[in-house]
Amino acid sequence: MVAEKLRDSPTSETVAPSAKIFGGYRTDPGVYDESALGPGNPRPHWRKFISSFEKLGREELAVRWENGRRIIREHGVTYNVYGDPQGMNRPWELDMVPLLIPPDEWRFLETGLTQRAKLFNLILADLYGPQRLLRDGLIPPALVFANPGFLRPCHGLRVPGEIYLHLHAVDLARSPDGQWWVLGDRTQSPSGSGYALENRIVLSRILPDEFRDSQVQRLASFFRIQRDALSQLATGRSNNPNIVLLTPGPHNETYFEHAYLARYLGFTLVEGGDLTVRDCRVFLKTLEGLQPVDVILRRVDDGFCDPLALRSDSFLGVPGLVEATHAGNVSIANALGSGMIESPAFLAFLPGLCRHILGEELKLPSVATWWCGQATEHQYVVDHLDTIVVKSGIATQARPPSFGARLNPLEKETLIAALRARPFDFVGQEQVALSVAPVWWNDQLEPRRISLRAYVAAHGDSYSVMPGGLTRVSPAAGDPIVSMQSGGGSKDTWVLSSGPVAPVSLLTASGQPVSVSRAAAELPSRVADNLFWLGRYVERLENRMRVLRCVIARMADEATSETASELAEMVQLLVRLDILPKRFAGRVRATELQQEILALVYNLQRAGSVRELGLRIRHIISVVRDRFSLDTWSILNQLQSDSRTRPGRIPLANALSLINTLIVDLAAFSGMEMENMTRGHGWRFLDFGRRLERGTNLINILSGTVPPKATSPNLLLEPLLEIADSSMTYRRRYLAQAQLPSVLELLVIDQGNPRSLAFQLSALADHADHLPQYGDAGVENSEQRRLRELTARLAQFNIAELASLNAREQKETLRQWLAEWSTGLSAVSNDLTHHYFSLTIARVS
């Protein structure tokens, strides 16, 4: 296939095979190509990379490419797309070819970006302070007063060091003449720096030699600067500041990044509900009580940060946050209200503002922007509609951009009327013809439009630029629009250095931070709650799969009379356990049973089906993903992708093999949890959930195994041992057909069997002793008391005595015991929920 394609390329006959990859790469005339001056003629700073890239050859590149995609999948790098139910957690698209930027060009960009961040910060400081720029007529009042991002309650708020902007993102594009332009700014809570970092990690791993030889500037120092600058915000309040990253939650498009950055920077990832304001201070609700918070790195839009002082319809914020900021007790980055300056209308006034405020010319020009609130500019936009994009100028979300050239006469008229009615709402902008860069696609290079998002972080009283950035790529070769939301991809950005680069990284080879400053004790209650339920659902899924495997194995077997009667008994057991509907209590046809069993595996709508439980697990994990190592992530992602298989043509066999695969995946997860998870409170809650669920499931199945109508011998004992994964032990120990007393001994009172009730109770008691204490010191809490009593009662469970009873008495006695244990465990669960998780709901009165 590859060779066929190559023959079409005119140069393939004449150039050496190693040069073919780049030799076939073509860009339309008139378009600026980042990599080449003309066909087959790379720009000087690309030559080394291209020759090295070509030396790898297509086959090796395909392997590397696959490898890169695997890393992305395993790390769980995702980007959520709004308005698309399938769009949640879409895998991140990364191209294998980086964007290269030469050192001298970068120095120019760096100066311009630093100046821009300083300027923006000073504009914000004025608008949220004396407003001289308004009085002196340098900014038209509409840009402020009609701006939904201008938060009046935040006017005059205390901002340490007058730093409003801690992180500023600038979208850059290059026009055909090679000049860089600013397309727009992100000053609210700029996204993408975490993706840039992840892109770097992936690319430096799949192209290690190219990365080293190109002398690429490292990103780690930028994040260190950001981390140090945020720590310094707490100066005077705390020597060991508590910094949290506030996220809107897993439904946000860039949630992956929030979790990733929190882990990388060593901050606690929190949602609004994890924080509370008391005595004008912000606290994190943890299991060990309230921990003061000094600095909030926010990824929640500022208007949503405080339902009391700001938008009352917000469920993402912290009531009283504005007041706490006002009291000087917490610092927020970026400062509340800084989003207002993202409005494109500001672009039209920057040159004048820069001269007035900094006394210098604006170094990085913005794309030509006309604010229609001025009569001349308004007229210009109307007269040049064909070459102009009309956008919301102030309220950025108000309407999608209109490309003048693409409008029909009627649409044009409507637009002109809208402009006339509310001119100050609009800007016109010149359309920039974006430059292109080579993208690896279908085993060859093709040109795609690109734009570069650069990041600038506050550093002392100036700013530092990330030496790199997030390069975004248009979704198709001819598409001029670059947007992650509309399906584009991304590239790593290599800023080349003129000398050797010292390796600096906050990460070790496996992608884990070297030192995490997060105190292990700070486990938000919400996270503990989720880990507890993760433990329960993982165990529930495993149990459910073991039960189903037992049934399916007997359905698929050659029907010996023994398996057939075991199957019939199993079906009755499932009815008693409410897994199968009541109608299966009578005679049912095999096909009907098969359909029902398959539904219990595959049907997402069916509560308790394998796939439904898998989805619940996935949901919980997405909420606590910052709590797991990347290796654990890989396993959980494997579990997710495995569980998506379809029944196929031999449905029962496929279901069985799916269940076997998933049981192994779950075992791998449990292994990671046992071997790699720190024995902190997080692990305790996870395991508490698992043990509680395992004990409860065991009791339920035992109850179901003691049927109202006695059969002898009890055909359910063998399946029971299978479900409890204890057949081998049983065989080794008893070398006999299963008997109720010995089964009970193994599954109920054997301390050494990790599947027994005694084992679960002892693990639970140990957890209860080590969870944070909420009552008086030294006084036993109710979980501890209940578990002690349950353990004591279990010791009185006498199997020899039970065996001596007649069948009816035996059953009755066993029922009483089971009921007692069941009540006991559910009381423990309720106590735990009440003491540690009981969530309160914020409501606006």
């Binding site: 308004l134 009042p141 509409a142 009046r152 309650p153 005595d279 004008c280 609130g373 001025q374 709901i841």
Partner: protein, 302 residues
């Protein structure tokens, strides 16, 4: 004329509330014609935090935090206010409304920056073509602004029916306009939106109104509610008040508490509680004149 105002807000919660934060805007403003002689707020239970400050619009605001379980919150505000007569310009001598419009939005804003703040949309009072069309008959070309504004005030008073059941805090202005029903807050925000639709700056005033008892009956204590009216800007004169609910120019009976772009900026008590149950709210306002002269009686507001 002196007034004593008692404004009691009572929240009852079905379940115990563990933490609540509130913002109070209950202090009468200091104005040329209005002085606040005395003001105090009593809160039960005792708040853990009570911070006084001024908001962006210069209104006194108190931030409260109540910590520890409570099932009830009572905020009782008591104020003594002295009112002096307004200086009301002769309507025919006010500038043409177009002049006010043209100097409110343009590039050169100079001293009227304060007015610019109130010419643009706010969350609850946004301009629209419908409102501009409704207001237009009151604003013929070259009409002095106060003549036009009084005509608009009168038309709203006639066209809209006072009906406390028709609207809630969440009723959009377009619906108030469609049904022509609502309370003082709706009428004030509608008139503000009319002004803004014509490019004129207007702001929301929250306050109290003294209401007389029906003839022969005794004054009921605590039956009044807080009131709202409109203030529009006129260059060279300043802010001029109109009350569309009663079709009057506020004077001697209207006591102003707070200014803002709409109700959202000035709500007297606003809070967020942490707790699971339901809540009920009871508001009682009593405005008592400390001397009782005879005057015509305006409608009760809401």
């Amino acid at each position: 004329m002196n007034y004593k105002i008692t404004h009691t807000t009572t929240y009852n919660y079905t379940d115990s509330v563990s933490l609540s934060h509130h913002l109070l805007r209950l202090t009468p403003r200091e104005l040329l014609h209005q002085r606040c002689l005395h003001h105090d707020v009593r809160i039960d239970p005792e708040p853990a935090v009570s911070q006084r400050d001024f908001d962006y619009f210069g209104n006194a605001v108190t931030f409260l935090t109540l910590e520890g379980p409570h099932k009830k919150l009572v905020v009782k505000s008591e104020s003594h206010v002295a009112l002096a007569p307004h200086l009301i310009p002769a309507p025919a001598e006010t500038p043409f409304w177009e002049r006010v419009r043209d100097s409110s939005r343009g590039q050169q804003i100079g001293h009227s920056l304060e007015a610019c703040e109130f010419v643009f949309d706010s969350p609850l009072a946004s301009a629209s073509a419908n409102f501009a069309e409704y207001a237009a008959p009151s604003f013929p070309r070259n009409t002095p602004i106060l003549i036009a504004a009084l005509d608009l005030t009168k038309r709203i008073h006639v066209d809209f029916k006072f009906d406390p059941k028709a609207t809630t805090l969440a009723t959009p202005l377009e619906e108030v306009f469609k049904n022509r029903r609502g309370v003082c807050q709706d009428f004030a925000q509608f008139q503000i939106a009319c002004f803004r639709s014509l490019g004129l700056p207007a702001r929301y005033v929250s306050g109290y109104l003294e209401t007389d008892p029906p003839p022969g009956k005794q004054r009921f204590v605590g039956t009044d509610a807080s009131h709202a009216w409109v203030s529009f800007y006129c260059h060279g004169i300043g802010w001029i008040d109109v009350d569309p609910t009663n079709n009057v120019m506020p004077a001697m009976r209207h006591i102003a508490i707070a200014f803002g772009r709409d109700y959202e900026d000035v709500s007297p008590v606003r809070g967020v509680i942490l707790g699971a149950g339901e809540h009920t709210l009871k508001v009682a306002v009593d405005v008592a004149a400390l001397e009782e002269p005879e005057r015509p009686r305006p409608n009760r507001s809401a």
